[in-house]
Symmetry: C3
Subunit: 214 residues, 3 copies
């Protein structure tokens, strides 16, 4: 199935970028495998736990965990290549974001949950892997600051749900969401689109302003 | 129901203070909604996951998640007001603490769990939202240092459980716990009551002392 | 049962070292109990949540939570002793690591899960308590940097599963795994064995190398 193939490509790419984050923190091989796996399958794990969807994806299919661990270790040997092909990984990461969002929405829909929860499931699946990676690596969570990431995940989830709701063929919905979502995300990277940032500084007059990121 | 109304007030206030924390970290709107929601409904989420109480509160009732996200975004527009009415928010936060503790205890009691677990459920529901907020915002967890917070949650849970155990009418128990818990918490704020702090410094003689916070 | 006795010794020792970590962060008594409990029973909690194994160990047996909280508070009174007997605690921590790994593997096996997941359950149970402790205390996760820790947990889980798989008597398997795992771990401490560390520095040539920790 197209989605499964793209999922495997997605978790492999995410695991490799996650491994680099572990390398920046000088972690040992266990740390590399942990961060790689958290980045790649952590979002789906959080989604499954929040929805009570057991067994978790990788518990039922341990080969996915094996893939992320091996991809992580592999990265320690080819790190310079990952750096040189940075742009390819940005594209793979963006592809993975849409794939994960679609899968997350799908899982929630199959459980008969409300539209809002299906879209939340899409965002959690797409975004929480990076959040976990940054929490373990003790750095500022990238997904809360970067160009449109969670927003694209939200749009992908909403598009996927909406198109299925009006009865469009499932394969067409999947492919359209992948194409549109990927393009919006790559455009956001290209043109540095981002959500408004909330700057709050406490001072005597208690002023605060929200403005787009400079 | 009184508890539901107070719960909505509580999560709204918690979401607004959570949004300010996100603003201090210059997060974008997604970050604001994430931190606001984590602060407001994160405690109940952790409680439900620990107890295996599915579906989670906000998954079954997505309007609560919508409220916290909207309250968070609203805060970005009225942040100076939140600062000016800081004392009101401290009171609302204290009210929310007791409401969350009562609800947490209630959920565990309905599952037939032991007294200790019911009280733990109260504390987790009351306190873990702030803990999650501080973990995401990468700052020293406030609830582990501030004036009596977890202790008040503990007392509220114990009082609620105990009074129901001896057969007092449920409405009386709820109102009494709210009043007593709120008063103890506000007194703790007023008089800076706090738990003893454990200071551990490793030195040659390995001395350490626990003393009340100065 | 031998395993239960060793488990109680293990969680007590883990709670005491966890309490010291809370003391270094000047947390109050609630923080001490939280970190002590997270260190001691946090690994098993994460394992149960990942496997959907409800009720959690300490929810079904609240006495374990009471033990960790009391052990944590007790540590605030005898901290100098814990420092003086540091080597004893390293041994007890190593013993606890193997006990937790065996129990984690056992739980997953009883659920009929695959060999890889059983070994992952062993590692999660053995290692995630320390990870949670370091996340709450906002410090570099020790388990991702120290001498063979997760590796020993992995080996213990693999050994336990393998020996049971080929039909060796359960008691012999438990005792052998305890002895062998404990010896390997203490040897790792003695000789500073550790996994290779992944050092990744981003520079113009994008070089990176993985080498054993100096």
């Amino acid at each position: 199935m197209l989605l499964t193939t793209l999922y495997i490509i997605g978790i492999t790419a995410e695991a490799m970028t996650g491994a680099l984050a572990a390398g920046k923190r000088h972690m040992d091989w266990f740390g590399v495998m942990l961060v790689a796996s958290a980045t790649a399958i952590g979002g789906g794990t959080v989604r499954d736990i929040l929805l009570g969807h057991y067994p978790l994806g990788w518990v039922a299919n341990p080969q996915y965990l094996a893939i992320t661990c091996l991809a992580g270790l592999f990265t320690t040997m080819v790190a310079p290549l990952v750096v040189r092909f940075h742009k390819v990984f940005v594209m793979l990461d963006s592809l993975g974001l849409i794939v994960f969002s679609i899968i997350g929405c799908r899982v929630a829909m199959d459980m008969g949950l409300s539209p809002l929860i299906c879209i939340v499931a899409a965002v959690v699946t797409g975004v929480f892997g990076g959040l976990l990676r940054d929490l373990i690596c003790r750095r500022q969570p990238l997904v809360l600051h970067k160009e449109l990431y969670a927003s694209v995940s939200f749009l992908a989830g909403a598009m996927y749900y909406g198109m299925l709701y009006v009865g469009i063929d499932s394969n067409i919905v999947t492919v359209s969401t992948l194409v549109v979502g990927f393009c919006i995300r790559m455009a956001a990277v290209q043109f540095s689109w981002s959500l408004p940032v909330f700057h709050f500084e406490e001072n005597d007059t208690g002023t605060a302003e929200a403005k787009p990121k400079a």
